[in-house]
């Protein structure tokens, strides 16, 4: 959806939700895959916790995942021959990625904010990004260091690191309520659209629910 240019999550009650090209098209595509029986049946009751485990069975052809998957698959499943691509959009030139997972934040009212800022500045230096992260096959946050000596032996890491430059981070206060929580509007929209085929109804219901959460 991001790759297609859609605005997904509302930052506030007046912000748009699930708006723009790609929202309906992506859900329709997944529903078609479901109708063609190329999505595992177990996906119906999966809230996302098993998304990587199903790919590890070697019976799933394509799976959205993260940079962690490369080292995990090489170590645990060397028999799986896999490649890396950016998350596509609805047009051939579209692409995007999710940037996040591990973040650093300074809480409001912190007594050592200056010291914390100095640490963040150091964490973004070449030394920290390359010797601390890339050397251990962890993606550096700086996109200018994507093509580094430690990743040369495994070009898939370079592709993944370059995805940071075109990716997005959901920047909404109630992300947990909207997406990650059990029974969240995002999860219910996916289940209703993909498995029940009620795409327009799913989008409309999710838009209302997301805006209600954003207004809290």
């Amino acid at each position: 959806m991001w790759g297609s240019g859609a605005h997904v999550l509302p930052a506030g009650p007046d912000d748009k939700a699930l708006d723009g090209p790609g929202v309906k098209e992506v859900l329709t595509m997944f529903h078609d895959m479901w109708k063609d029986k190329i999505i595992p049946e177990s996906a119906q009751q999966d809230n996302g916790t098993n998304f990587f485990a199903t790919f590890e069975t070697g019976k799933v052809g394509m799976q959205g995942s993260g940079g962690f998957a490369i080292s995990a698959l090489k170590k645990d499943h060397p028999e799986i021959n896999f490649g890396i691509a950016y998350l596509p959009g609805i047009k051939p030139e579209n692409a995007s990625s999710f940037v996040g997972g591990d973040v650093i934040a300074i809480p409001k009212g912190s007594k050592h904010a200056d010291m914390a800022k100095k640490f963040i500045q150091w964490a973004l230096t070449d030394e920290a990004q390359l010797n601390g992260l890339a050397k251990n096959l962890i993606l550096p946050a700086r996109t200018d260091l994507a093509d580094n000596e430690f990743f040369k032996a495994e070009p898939r890491y370079i592709t993944t690191a370059k995805a940071v430059a075109i990716g997005q981070t959901p920047w909404v206060f109630h992300f947990n309520d909207m997406v990650n929580a059990d029974g969240s509007p995002w999860l219910q929209m996916l289940q209703t659209a993909i498995f029940d085929g009620k795409i327009d109804e799913a989008i409309a219901t999710a838009q209302d629910a997301l805006k209600t959460i954003a207004s809290n």
Binding site: E41, S42, Q44, Q45, N47, H174, N176, D177, N180, A181, D182, G183, L187, Q188, Q191, T192, F195
Partner: protein, 291 residues
């Protein structure tokens, strides 16, 4: 010793229980009520907002949907547990070796935690590796493995089945004790009068076990109103948010959305409803006893 010393002595005997109740019941309850009057979050802070959380709760459709589902679950499961528990008690009331062994086997699941039981059953009902689908397919009841938790009726049935397996032994033990306390001479007199087995059960054993029946029903109903573990582990509130219970909703608001004040208000509302239901049930029990 004068009479005036006895009340004081009695007070000191109950003082430990009073202290325990104050520390572990009254104080937390008071603190919960206070938090419900604030907009406190899980990260601390918060200001006094009066009954704002309660106003919001009464207008929250999602909460009342969860409450309605919890009531449905309670109304469905309680009679099942009572009837099955009583039947199992009738089956195992005699103190023979086989009866005692059977009682032990049926009671065994009661001692494991509900979370452990739910983890066991979520894998037994798994679409790919679950034993339930294997058995049903081998018996030609289904032709292909079912996905149990993507359809409300199947998920609800699976949870009710697993909870019944887990807790029916508790009711059975209570009813065995009640049945064994009924005088044997009453049954013998009824046999002499020509009463059949089920007539003796319905006209002698059930009326004389009424107090235990009501107690077991009250405990079961309260347990069902507070259901959380099985739905959290087995359905995650799905499919489509249809199996969210009241406590699950409270948990979600308090510890996932961080709205501790709102969660506290929801807890108080739920506690009041359970209290009203319990009082009504006890009134029914007393009314039945004096009828």
């Amino acid at each position: 010793m004068s009479l005036t010393h006895q009340p004081r002595t009695g007070f000191f005997y109950v003082l430990p229980a009073i202290v325990f109740t104050c520390v572990f019941v009254l104080y937390p309850l008071t603190q919960l009520f206070y938090i419900s009057l604030t907009d406190r979050t899980l990260l601390g802070g918060g200001h006094y907002i009066g009954f704002g959380n309660y106003t919001r709760a009464f207008a929250d459709k999602a909460f009342w949907q969860a409450f309605e589902f919890t009531i449905l679950y309670t109304i469905f499961l309680t009679p099942v547990l009572m009837a099955l528990g009583f039947l199992l008690a009738l089956l195992t009331v005699r103190n023979t070796g086989l009866s005692r062994f059977t009682r032990g086997v049926i009671f065994l699941p009661v001692v494991i935690g509900l979370a452990s039981s739910s983890l066991l059953w979520v894998w037994l009902f798994d679409q790919q590796v679950g034993l339930i689908n294997r058995v049903l397919m081998d018996l030609n009841i289904i032709s292909a493995p079912w996905t149990w938790f993507n359809i409300f009726s199947r998920g609800f049935a699976a949870i009710c089945f697993s909870v019944t397996w887990k807790v029916v032994g508790f009711g059975m033990i209570l009813f065995v004790a009640a049945l064994q306390s009924v005088g044997r001479e009453l049954e013998e007199a009824a046999i002499i009068d020509g009463a059949s087995y089920w007539q003796r059960v319905w006209r002698i054993l059930v009326p004389l076990s009424r107090r235990t029946l009501f107690l077991a029903a009250l405990i079961s109903a309260i347990g069902s109103m507070l259901a959380f573990d099985q739905f959290y582990i087995m359905t995650g509130g799905g499919p489509r948010g249809q199996t969210f219970t009241s406590v699950y909703f409270v948990y979600q608001n308090s510890f996932v959305f961080f709205k501790l004040g709102y969660g506290a208000a929801l807890s108080i509302i739920l506690a009041v409803f359970i209290l009203i239901g319990s009082i009504f049930q006890m009134w029914l029990s007393r009314r039945g006893a004096t009828a």
